[in-house]
Amino acid sequence: MYNIYLNKRVLLPLGSRIRKLLLIMKITTLILITVILHVSANTMAQKVTLNKKNAQLVDVFNDINAQTGYDFAFTTTTLKDAKPVTINVRNEELSEVLTQIFQGQNLEFTIENKSVVIKPKEETLIDKARAYFAQITVTGKVQDELGQPLPGVTVRVKGTSNAFATDSKGSFSIVAPDDKAIIQFTFIGYESIELPARDVNGTTITMKASQTNLKEVVVNKGYYTTTQELNTGNVTHISGEDIAKQPGIDPIAALEGRVPGLYISQTSGIPGANETVLLRGRNSLRNGNDPLYIIDGVPVTSSSLTSGDIGGGALGYGGGGAGSNIIGSNGSATGMSPFSTLDPSNIESIEILKDADATAIYGSRGANGVILITTKRGKPGKTLVDINVLQGASRIASELDLMNTQQYLAMRYQALKNDGLTPSLDRGDYDLLLWDTNRYTDWQKVLIGRTAQYTNAVGSISGGTANTQFIIGGSYNRQTTVFPGNYVDKKGNAHFNLTHSSTDQKFHANFSAQYGYDSNIIPQADFTSFVTIAPNSPALYNPDGTLNWGVYPSVGPTFNNPITGTFQTAKSTTGNLNSHLMLSYQIFPGLVLKSSLGYTRSEMNQTNQQPATVGYGPPDPNNRLNQLATNSLNSWIFEPQINYTKQISKGNLDVLLGMTQEENQYNSVAYTAVGFSSDALISNPAFASNFYLSGANYSQYRYAAIYGRVNYNWEEKYLFNLTARRDGSSRFGPGNEFGNFGAIGAGWIFSKEKFAGNISWLSFGKIRASYGTSGNDQIGDYQFLSTYSSGGIYQGVSTLQPTAISNPYYGWEVNKKLEGGLDLGFLKDRIYLTIDYFRNRSGNQLVGLTLPNVTGFNTVVANLPAVVQNTGLELQLNTTNIKTKSFSWSSSINLTVPRNVLVSYPGLSSSIYADFYSIGKPIYTPAVYHYTGINPQTGVYTFQDVNGDGVLNNSDRQHVNGALQKYFGGFDNSFSYKGLQLSVLFQFVKQTGINYLNSFPFPGLFNQNQLVNVQKAWQNPGDIVTNQRYTSNGGTAAANAYGLFEGSDARYTDASFIRLKNIQLSYRLPASWTQKMHIQNFRVFLQGQNLLTITKYEGLDPETQSASTLPPLRTITAGLELGL
């Protein structure tokens, strides 16, 4: 039969000299052959009948082959630019038919021995000469729709490497081969334009800003990039612009409500606070749920650097060492956010990698997804100076509805009456007997009611030529708190990025570096925890200005003055250096050698100061403490890479092979300085008479891997992507160090099929699927080693104490991910919909197993046999609703419907987690008592005695749905009218949460205020009310019942909310004005965050679900942006 010889490239590049020689020889032979061909062609008499419309050349060849038996020889690259053929012939000569077919093609053919050999048309010397004389120099200008000159636009002669960038005035000059040559204009954010040279020369080209061209967005998948169109995996791309809209919070928190599948909850409204991040639910039962964060190719730890030995004040304790990646057993990290020094305005984009296809190449660390942060780069064109200044204010967004003095006192009297007691000084009923019962203080106003100030200033200089671009920038940020006292968070950031490409585009280099500095001064305790003290508590200060302790001669002090918290500060200064160098060289077309080198260093210095005057009485020098800690994390990473691309047949093959070598070193030393002779000297440890070590930690982490990717796409229609990684980590004991991970992804762009060509409203359609594995090594270092660390001193000996319970046998946790997705674009992509379904199964759960303290410690690292499954549906819809010349409205909505289930857990019932989990149910289903209302006779909460044995104990607890999200998402709208722009982001969460009762002890206690609605309490037999009887002390039936109540299903409540997360209104001066002012850009804006929350949740905030930690604040900022 016949053969179509594919890929028959015999000649290989042998150096340019040989190539030149060959060229001369070829041209000579060609001229000869052409003559011969004409002769031989005439001698043939093969008849062909064809009727084709817009047919592919290959299809036509197949037909001819069938009719004549002639073979066709060509390479796929040869036919790449072939035009479709329309031909209608009956019994024509083959040579005649072929001549017709090749008319207008950039191809020529020869017939040899019943074979048709197809080659690209070679230029003859005459052609070349003609071409030289036909060359024209095209000049012109490029501007935007507003008439502003556009510098940095790439102007290229189509099909050549001949490219230039427009200068600051938008002007360009480029040499084209002839006046029919096509000139391309491309610029990020604008629709590309292609025009023949003759239409361009001497004119001004207007480029239109591109609309929702989502599928053309280049997505960063870490080791490689692709476009949203050709992507086989699930990657969400968030632009830096959206991040910068939310000042005052770190860039990770700014993702809240914008990414399907990503659930972020802020742990506190205190500046610098860390957040809890869950990408596609909790995979790991107990801990290790953090995604992998990578800034410009360098992995950064998501754990706080805050010392575990001294803590970070009101932000709580850190993970006990970022290097060791230990996080709290509930999966929430506390302490200072490691991203707080990252300047949001310096972010170009953030990519969130979710499925196996996107994450398997990260192997052991991709189980919980990967978040890639890319910083800004310079653009070719005129040197730009951008300045952005904003000023704002924050307040708490909601308040607790607490009782006033009359209500509080009534509750207290009733409580004593219920207990059959009368107020007594012995019992300490100071609020009833000693304190002024007419006094009222709104403690929320006093302790968390201030307005926090926010200032941010950012500047950058950027620019460059087509080959070299740079950006240098810096920012300053200052933020105060809502607390009394002088607490302030100050940040400075400098960043730099340099990109260079050699003129022949073979060598590329990119260097980026950022240094961020953060000085954070906060109280040692969150003042929010004091707002529930008695409303008739004494004043903070005596009339003479001294601290008031509520001193009564008969009993001494009666008041624990909360303002003393302002004397105790926790200060941390953080320095963060993140640098990255990427070099790449194209050895020959298709083969690129890359090398990526990263270095990061984070250093945190902490001091927690406590003066002696924190309590009543003579200052006890023992109280004067200054706890100091220095924590540092050094890490480097080296990743060489080979990338090979090749056209094979109608497809494009892309192969990547690389390796990683990484090392982290964490060091921390904490010591306590004591023996200061006065409070004034505390800040300087040199005045301490004595020091002792509070803790020293060191850990080293090494990681090595080899990874690869094979990608093949056939006509940009059928896409395959294979990724794999073999990992070794020092976190595992002998024999368990290595793990293999891999994934396969596939996509089919069906809108490019013929049948879809007729559907005019469907502009894009892609189905994709992926399956693969990734791992999790989020445990501390050395956990497999049984070790002792230094303890106190005894008999002159520095002692040694057991560090932890060790387990040498644990191995990788494996996460299997399955995903199916559908991308649809309608009406020229004005409506763009992405739907994903995922299923993640995490087995061999690597956890910090919670232990009873009877074992000596409360945790051990081990593999649990449990399998946790997270499934979910994610939906993202982007629409351009209205688009006229001056007005546009676009929307974006995302929705996530997560589902979590514990698939299996052999031996659960006899394990320590029997009370926490239940097979077949979500992992948020603790066993609790079932609340059955208030006994109208006794006025005490009652619970279901499930087994009917008359006693309420553990066996009466049932698994119920705990704090769980049903669905969540965000709704973003953006309007623009001429220079005016408005964007509004709503975040919505449908969930159950922990109600306010959990933050309050039982009502009726001394000095413990309650919410107003607690007033509806039982008083007399027969009362049908919502709250049980008050009681003034523990041990009573009511107090015990309250304890059970807090541990019953009554603690869960609807904590759903819709929040107006962010709103931004901006106005950009028209180009005509700015041109007159000789500036590039002038924009003013007003931003609001967390402006409105619609919720039924009673308590401070449905997100933090606590009445004792500061909720996320409401912030309003105004600013201006200036481009010179």
């Binding site: 009543y616 004591v674 070790t787 002792y788 660390s789 002692t799 074992t855």
Partner: protein, 486 residues
């Protein structure tokens, strides 16, 4: 590790091959690439127990931690019983004082939580010393013997208080978390038997002289357990085991009392709690981070230089019940109780330990855990229980006379004498964690607390004589139950 790569390229693609070789070579040393040094801030366990110095350091760390427990015990049980009042306004202090504890109190900073978790942590450390030393060949025999003896002693000491505060408790005698995490409560009787066994073993292992950090050379510092400490604690254990064990209690106490060369009762009550006092059988030193002796937790926590605080430290005062328990002329009332007055009111506080940061520049005291006076009272009661009232009175009067009181002159029947000894314990051992557990041992707790709690302003419930087990423990150990009532 090696990798095989199928070459699909033409052989003259030297660049490909070279690059791949570099990659492969780089990766062939994979195991090496992820090899890390052991942490320099930690020592691998096997290296800890292969020589005398670090093995000793591993044991001594228990004392550096255990030293905070006595004060926790003194304050908490003092509040729960009739020894102390509190001015603290936090709920946990109030609940302790009003005998109105709930299980929810047993979290975080609650003394009961601290006592439970700390005790088991130190028991783990002791178990680790025992297990590792038994396998070790690098530690010299004499050192090994002393360290094993001390670990056994510490384990018994901790279980004694666990049983007395919580009732039946899980008995962890191994370091294996798989075993310990699912332990049930062991009946009190069996835990006592374990204490007897540990202390008997300890007696054969421990040195009869106080040793220094070499574990063999003797020193005047009484801050390591000796064979005498093991006798003294065993005497107490037998007394608490009650019927059938009084003879053994008497015997063990006698061994300590008879060692007059080492132990005697100082006449000056103000020297009893001094460092290495002749009355001290076992003390714990409190060192700061530089190895200097620092103030005892008792002095820091109890001694008042101002009216009692609303915070937990410096908030406790001596109760009226205790003040009234002193006979007139009792020198203990004079020397061991301090008074702070602001001119209008005055407050009494435990002043057995006196040196604190406000009054002194350095401490001359050690926390005294076992002392001779208790041994006299143990023997007195053991003798009385066995019908030897003469012997009992002799011992009782030694203590009375030292306090400046005349010989006992009350009723001479056995019951009266036993009750007199009980009263003597109240005034001799106050604020030393004895009263609360003795009320329970003697079965008088309901009678006494029924009155006292009412005087404090609360209601006594008998179940409050046991502290609640931390709820997290009940949650995390499937076989552990909460104490009844909570």
């Amino acid at each position: 590790m090696t990798i095989k790569i199928k070459l699909i390229m033409k052989p003259n693609h030297i660049t490909y091959i070279v690059s791949l070789l570099i990659l492969a070579a780089g990766f062939s040393a994979c195991k090496k690439q992820i090899a890390i040094d052991p942490p320099n801030t930690k020592i691998v366990t096997t290296n800890v127990f292969n020589n005398d110095g670090t093995a000793t350091a591993a044991l001594l760390s228990i004392y550096t931690q255990i030293r905070s427990l006595p004060y926790v015990l003194h304050q908490a049980t003092g509040l729960s019983s009739d020894e102390l009042n509190t001015n603290a306004i936090d709920q946990i202090s109030k609940d302790l004082y009003l005998n109105s504890l709930s299980a929810n109190d047993a979290t975080n900073l609650f003394p009961s939580f601290q006592f439970w978790t700390s005790s088991y942590q130190y028991i783990y450390a002791a178990n680790a010393v025992l297990e590792n030393l038994q396998q070790s060949s690098g530690v010299s025999p004499k050192v090994k013997q002393q360290l094993i003896g001390e670990a056994q002693f510490i384990r018994a000491y901790l279980f004694f208080y666990l049983v007395n505060l919580y009732g039946d408790v899980p008995m962890a005698t191994t370091t294996d978390y798989k075993v310990n995490s699912v332990l049930q409560r062991t009946p009190k009787v069996q835990v006592y038997q374990q204490m007897v066994q540990d202390l008997t073993n300890a007696q054969s292992n421990l040195s009869s002289k106080y040793v220094d950090a070499t574990d063999t050379a003797s020193t005047s510092d009484r801050i390591r357990p000796t064979v005498w400490a093991a006798h003294a604690l065993l005497a107490r254990v037998y007394l608490f085991m009650g019927n059938g064990n009084y003879d053994k209690a008497e015997l063990e106490a006698k061994k300590v009392i008879d060692n007059a060369a080492l132990f005697s009762l100082p006449t000056d009550l103000n020297t009893v709690f001094k460092q290495n006092s002749s009355e001290a059988i076992w003390q714990i030193a409190q060192y700061d981070g530089s190895g200097n002796v620092t103030f005892t937790s008792d002095a820091t926590g109890f001694v008042l230089s101002a009216p009692p605080s609303v915070n937990t430290a410096k908030s406790s005062t001596i109760s009226t019940q205790l003040i009234n328990a002193f006979e007139s002329g009792d020198q203990r009332r004079v020397n061991w109780i301090g008074t702070y007055t602001n001119g209008i009111s005055s407050w009494n506080y435990p002043a057995k330990y006196k040196d604190n940061a406000i009054t002194a520049s350095s401490s001359s005291e050690y926390t005294t855990i076992l002392r001779l006076a208790e041994q006299y009272l143990i023997r007195a009661e053991a003798r009385a229980q066995q019908g030897n009232t003469t012997g009992a009175l002799a011992d009782l009067n030694v203590i009375r006379n030292r306090a400046g009181l005349p010989n006992y002159a009350g009723a001479m029947d056995q019951t009266s004498i036993i009750s007199a000894i009980s009263h003597e314990r109240q005034v001799e051992l106050f604020a030393e964690g004895d009263r609360w557990i003795n009320l329970k041992r003697t079965g008088s707790i309901d009678a006494v607390m029924g009155i006292v709690t009412a005087q404090k302003g609360g209601n006594w419930n008998s179940y409050q004589q046991l502290y609640p087990v931390p709820p997290s423990e009940v949650l995390n150990d499937p076989n552990l139950t909460q104490n009844p009532g909570y």
